[in-house]
């Protein structure tokens, strides 16, 4: 289907469609928020769905990542994530930069150890 389109047209078209469907969710969100009672059950449910969606996305990024991360061991990613949590809540009194660096550094180190280990 797309072979018929010149890339000079197809790429801007794809970008425009991408921007449009993305803003549609945001714009619709503003429209709907004016009609939903912030103290009502529908609003409480929407907030639950927002938090669940975000947690689902983040867990998927760690457990089942795409791209380069997919080549690392799942156990290494989980250990690195656990270290970042421990670092943030117990070791550094919620120092964000230090904790994300510890998590990322741990993954790099664990992945490297697998290449030199037995």
């Amino acid at each position: 289907m797309r072979d018929a389109l010149d890339p000079a047209i197809a790429v801007p078209l794809a970008l425009a469609v991408g921007a449009l469907v993305t803003y549609a969710w945001r714009g619709l969100g503003v429209l709907l928020s004016g009609r939903i009672d912030p103290d009502g059950p529908l609003f409480a449910w929407t907030a639950c769905v927002a938090y669940a969606l975000l947690a689902a996305l983040i867990a998927r990024m760690i457990v089942l990542p795409r791209g380069d991360l997919a080549d690392t061991a799942a156990l290494d990613r989980l250990l690195a994530a656990g270290l970042a949590l421990a670092c943030f809540f117990w070791l550094t009194r919620r120092n964000m930069l230090l904790s994300v660096a510890a998590g990322s550094g741990a993954l790099v180190l664990l992945t490297w150890l697998r290449t030199v280990g037995p």
């Binding site: 449910w45 907030a47 938090y51 669940a52 689902a56 994300v100 550094g105 790099v108």
Partner: protein, 249 residues
């Protein structure tokens, strides 16, 4: 205790709308800017590796500014997918923006600002700015909230546009180990931000159930998994929360 986002110490919040915008700007530097910058360096590199031009990547970051959807768009385009399937995939990856915007708007609302400004601000709803505003804005006066959110997100947006260009030029130049560490910063950062926001029972339930459902349902349906697990886990969390509230009333 620093935490993910700094709260003002005063009853008057940051003092006024202008000061709130500057506080948002400052907050975006540091961890949010570095982590999101690193992620968009990765996106810029992906754009180049997909044989697209620099301006394509920049346009995507400027107009889309929601990374999972941007990655889906570039990957599917490079794979030769049809326009319709690209639109569907981007829409599905970004569906979270709807409940996020609905939840954020009442927090930002103030009679001080015109209604149309909220439609402009909505473009800047994305995970980091949303989490910052949900944490900081309830603690400051209403007229400072939109300025804080805008100061924070527009700064972050500008940084990610620059990072997209940087990544485009750095593509292939970074050692594998370094780029691995850079892409892992993003999920780790989000995990910590939301682990910290899980102090409230309803949120903790929704976050925990979503985290369990996300990867499991993704195995069954990679396309619809996110939406199904979000709706399912969110609904279950809502019902469990009401049940708990009734029992302990």
């Amino acid at each position: 205790m620093p935490g993910a986002f700094d709260l003002p110490h005063s009853e008057q919040g940051f003092g006024g709308p202008r000061a709130a915008a500057l506080a948002g700007l400052r907050a975006a530097f540091g961890a949010p800017g570095l982590v999101m910058g690193a992620s968009f360096v990765g996106f810029g590199a992906l754009v180049r590796q997909s044989d697209l031009a620099l301006w394509h990547g920049l346009a995507s970051t400027i107009t889309g500014w929601a990374l999972p959807g941007q990655i889906a768009l570039v990957e599917l385009y490079a794979a030769g997918a049809s326009l319709l399937s690209i639109a569907l995939a981007v829409a599905l990856s970004n569906a979270r923006l709807l409940p996020m915007t609905v939840t954020l708007m009442p927090v930002l609302r103030s009679p001080r600002w015109a209604r149309w400004t909220y439609f402009v601000a909505a473009h800047y709803v994305a995970v980091t700015g949303w989490a910052a505003a949900m944490r900081v804005c309830p603690a400051i006066p209403a007229e400072q909230r939109l300025p804080y959110f805008t100061g924070f997100t527009v700064t972050l947006w500008t940084a990610t546009i620059a990072a997209t260009a940087l990544g485009f030029y750095l593509a292939g130049a970074l050692p594998q180990q370094v780029s691995l560490g850079l892409v892992f910063l993003n999920p780790i950062y989000f995990m910590l931000v939301f682990a910290e926001s899980a102090q409230q029972r309803t949120r903790a339930l929704a976050l925990a159930l979503g985290a369990v459902a996300g990867p499991s349902v993704h195995l069954v349906s990679p396309d619809w998994g996110l939406l199904i697990s979000g709706l399912g886990a969110g609904t279950l969390a809502y019902l469990l929360d009401r049940l708990w509230a009734r029992r302990h009333a």
